[in-house]
Symmetry: C2
Subunit: 196 residues, 2 copies
Amino acid sequence: MSLVLDPAAQDLLFREARTANTFTDEPVTDEQIQAVYDLVKYGPTAFNQSPLRVTLVRSQEARERLVQHMAEGNRPKTLTAPLVAILSVDNEFHEELPELFPHAPGVKDAFFSERTVREQAAGLNGALQAAYFIVGIRAAGLAAGPMTGFDPAGVQKEFLDGDHTPLMVVNIGKPGPDAWFPRSPRLAYDDVVTTV
Amino acid sequence: MSLVLDPAAQDLLFREARTANTFTDEPVTDEQIQAVYDLVKYGPTAFNQSPLRVTLVRSQEARERLVQHMAEGNRPKTLTAPLVAILSVDNEFHEELPELFPHAPGVKDAFFSERTVREQAAGLNGALQAAYFIVGIRAAGLAAGPMTGFDPAGVQKEFLDGDHTPLMVVNIGKPGPDAWFPRSPRLAYDDVVTTV
């Protein structure tokens, strides 16, 4: 075998894990999310910029405000998931860089003085962190249901501010009945990987 | 414990894993990369769009062409890493959607007829897949050294085509002497996660 990761972990994180569309009633606790964060916060980002921010939507009132901005097909699952998280990026992440990248404190001004540069960096590195977060949800024995089918401007206005851009909304919980479609096919290795 | 993933796997993928800046001479084989791909290809993307493409830079000639487009500080490690991968996205990924998302073949035309929409979707979903790939490299017992310090237009022109946008370059191998800086601090849970 070419992988060192044990097969049970491979199954938990990738092979058996699926995007869930239904959930049981079992609650997802703050302690679980904290354990997920305390694992995936170590995933790498450029200059350790760590732009990802997480808004946990727990109250029924907030849940109803959120679904108003979501695609119709996503509303029922987002209304019934035990927990919903809005993943966004902080486009002003550079303010934390002297603390986050202490061995080169000049990075903040040398690379990130322009907002457009920060937005591009935050989009890429925040997406990396969103993927680590999805993997972390699975590491907690939970299913994630990431969605991009929502109005970003509406979600931003409702829950964030002008410095935060939403990336995705993630339903979180134990999978319920008929939680997923059959697994869709993946591209073959030779269609994805080339060598020069 | 709130996590189901066993502690050894947590260490391998996140807690002990580090971005390596030096590497041993031990080769990284195509079989290892195939095993990584066959694991991480299951990571979720929107509509299973799977835009990530991987260019393995193996020949010395290609390695020298690549470093011409990289930031000075990144050149020595990219010249000496056992394997280097250019991660890019295919902005024409929609052509594969009828095969990749067979239960809703209309998605290709309903959502992805515009190139700018595809570029945005590929940027986000390709970055998710790049993170899965980094996690997969670690699952193979290897260290990854992802870098965004390069000229994207130059790398695109040298190795890709107008339909493929480079996301990052990743050095891959077993960590060598003095492979990393001390671990930088991470943001506290309460600075990242809020509840509504």
